[in-house]
């Protein structure tokens, strides 16, 4: 699907975000780098607090500043560094070139405005259409995301829609101005499985038709396995492993990725006595990491992990991992 050698539409280099809190600084994003090509779907996984959402919100200045502060890095959208542009230009990018879908469709729409008003707002803002044209576009969008009777539903309020329908409206808003990049922050987490499947289908379909790049943040490894081209695993505000979807699931290298994959209960074979868990808590980062953030929970940790923070190293084509342990650098076959 994605053209292998196309230029990435979004390139993030060395992004660092810090929160100033009463208890001191929290380093939420530490030197995160990744890129997405047009038509590609990048899955971002990791447990709560691993910095997935904060990373994506930092890209377009959606974090409240203060307390948040983007300390460094580059966010190149088609070569333009979004961390250096004016607030006005950033507003043009938000909703215009970068679309957002959020986790909870129940609260993400404004309850006192009609759905039509909320879809038309970004269309008029970014595409400069008049009221009538914007309305037509809104109807098209609602039809695109599969809302029956789209024209009649423009004047309905969010509370008159079900959860799944509201998430479709959110998708329609995110797609309103043909964005180059769509950032979906756990868009299916709040939905039940059947609705989740429908939403996934819509996104797959839209990606094929509109050819935008998608960054899909989720807890759900099953979803990632189903739709992603590449996967980025985050832990402690860093990328610990990054690979195309098949190698990642078949041959995970980082101990954290392996542990994550082990936590998925299996439906075949003997039933496990207990659900697998990763013992311990994710770290609170009071300073930029000087050692591997996973060391305290890692079964393979050794001296060096406590002294130095591993950098991402390429271990296979398109596959990099941030781990010192030799196991991370040997392919599965070689171990077996």
């Amino acid at each position: 699907m994605p053209a292998g050698d196309a230029r990435p539409v979004l390139e993030v280099r060395d992004l660092r975000t810090v929160f100033q809190t009463r208890g001191g600084e929290v380093h939420a994003v530490n030197s995160v780098s990744f890129d997405v090509k047009p038509g590609e779907l990048l899955g971002v996984v990791g447990e709560s607090g691993s910095g997935k959402s904060v990373t994506m919100m930092s890209l377009v200045g959606l974090l409240p500043m203060p307390p948040a502060e983007v300390r460094g890095g580059e966010v190149l959208l088609d070569g333009e560094d979004l961390l250096k542009v004016s607030p006005a230009r950033l507003r043009d990018v938000r909703g215009g070139e970068v679309g957002f879908i959020f986790q909870d469709p129940m609260t993400s729409l404004n309850p006192v405005f009609t759905v039509g008003f909320q879809i038309i707002e970004p269309i008029r803002r970014h595409m400069g259409l008049n009221k009538r044209q914007a309305r037509e576009r809104a109807v098209e969008l609602l039809e695109l995301v599969g809302i029956p009777g789209a024209r009649g539903r423009l004047s309905d309020y969010p509370h008159q829609f079900s959860g799944g329908m509201r998430q479709r409206v959110m998708i329609a808003i995110a797609l309103a101005c043909d964005p180059k990049v769509l950032i979906a922050d756990e868009p299916t987490t709040a939905l039940d499985v059947t609705i989740q499947a429908q939403i996934l289908e819509i996104v797959e379909d839209l990606r094929a038709r509109l050819g935008m790049a998608i960054v899909w943040i989720t807890h759900d490894l099953g979803v990632v396995a189903g739709i992603a081209d590449r996967v980025m695993v985050m832990y402690g505000g860093q990328v610990v492993e990054h690979a195309p979807v098949h190698p990642l699931f078949n041959d995970p290298r980082h101990p954290y990725t392996r542990a994550l994959l082990r936590t998925i209960p299996t439906v075949t074979g003997a039933r496990a006595d207990k659900l697998q868990v990763i013992e311990g808590q994710p770290p609170m980062l009071g300073a930029a990491p000087s050692a591997c953030p996973f060391r305290d929970r890692c079964p393979l940790a050794f001296d060096r992990c406590h002294a130095e923070n591993p950098l991402r190293e390429v271990v296979a084509p398109n596959h990099d991992v941030a781990c010192f342990h030799p196991l991370a650098h040997t392919a599965k076959e070689a171990v077996a």
Partner: protein, 335 residues
């Protein structure tokens, strides 16, 4: 919505009748004698005759019934006559004040303009100040502006008007001599000069009242804005690339106004009720002052009628607040 309004209006009738009865019984049970101010040299038989002449000789339920008839039938007829020059109410006994034997409603009609001017202006001024202050304080929470606002509202909230009233008289009327300390009701506004005079004499009472109302409203507005500023839909609005002004003044404000509008509507009856203390301090002879002198003189028809009018206004504006709530918040449907 219409059905709801009609149903609520119908429900209001028994409520108001019950309130009228309670007010009547309370006044009836309270100690006090309309003849208490008559000199002791007047023999007690004469006083008794005067009481009978006031209608006090009749049993309680008859007097209550008469008052009901007068309030709901004869007085409206009088209003109708006054408006269209007809004579339906001729020869029918109106509600008569015991103090001056004049119809109660004429006294009320004389007093209402002063109260509406002073208290009404204070209310409007307070709303106009409180809403922007509340919005900005919430948007820049814990900023210097917000901290200063919190301090001023706390002062405005906790200092009673009998103190702040005297204080502003001392500062602006006695020391600076900018504004008169006494409100002159006889002033006729028929020229620009007189209008300027009217504004100047309203200034101090309006200031005292507005400080109090602004304090309450701006805190309310601020809290309501803060509730909404952290909502997910605000992030959505920003993610759509809307201007910060649009995000705050359209998306957040519309949601925040819902409870505030209700509070404003519920506060309107208190404008008609007057501000008893402030009116006393500045000698504004409005409704509040009318009520307090009527209570002092044991003028039961006046007290009964005024109190009941307040009750009607409160019931009415409760209904208006509910209807407004339904109009502002699409999630609320009454049918």
């Amino acid at each position: 919505m219409l059905t709801f309004t009609i149903r609520r209006l119908l429900f209001a009738i028994p409520t108001l009748l019950f309130i009228a009865l309670v007010i009547f019984l309370l006044l009836e049970l309270a100690p006090g004698d309309p003849m208490a101010n008559v000199p002791l040299t007047v023999p007690s038989e004469v006083k008794e005759q005067m009481r009978v002449a006031l209608g006090l000789g009749e049993p309680m339920h008859i007097r209550f019934w008469k008052w009901i008839i007068q309030f709901f039938w004869i007085e409206p007829l009088n209003v109708f006559d006054a408006l269209f020059g007809t004579g339906f109410a001729e020869g029918k006994l109106r509600i008569i004040s015991w103090q001056n034997r004049a119809p109660v409603f004429i006294a009320i009609a004389e007093r209402i303009p002063q109260t509406l001017w002073v208290v009404g202006t204070a209310y409007v001024v307070a709303i106009l100040i409180a809403i922007p202050v509340g919005i900005y304080s919430a948007y820049r929470q814990y900023s210097i502006f917000d901290q200063a606002g919190t301090f001023v509202t706390m002062v405005g909230f906790s200092v009673p008007p009998f103190f702040s009233g005297v204080l502003v008289i001392l500062i602006f009327a006695v020391q600076l001599r900018w504004f008169p300390s006494i409100y002159d009701t006889t002033l006729e506004v028929n020229s620009w000069e007189a209008f300027g005079m009217q504004v100047r004499q309203m200034f101090l009472p309006v200031m005292v009242l507005a400080l109090q109302i602004t304090s309450q409203l701006s805190r309310f507005m601020r809290a309501s804005m803060l509730d909404n500023l952290n909502q997910d839909y605000v992030r959505t609005a920003r993610a759509k690339g809307l201007r910060e002004n649009t995000v705050v003044l359209v998306h957040v404000l519309r949601n925040s106004m819902i409870p505030v509008v209700t509070v404003i509507a519920l506060g309107v009856p208190s404008i008609f009720g007057g501000a008893i203390i402030t009116e006393q301090v500045f000698k504004v002879n409005g409704i509040g002052q009318l009520l307090i002198t009527a209570i002092q003189a044991n003028d039961l028809p006046m007290v009964q009628t005024l109190t009941f009018i307040f009750a009607v206004l409160i019931v009415l504006f409760n209904l208006i607040a509910d209807v407004l709530y339904g109009m502002l918040d699409p999630r609320i449907r009454y049918d």
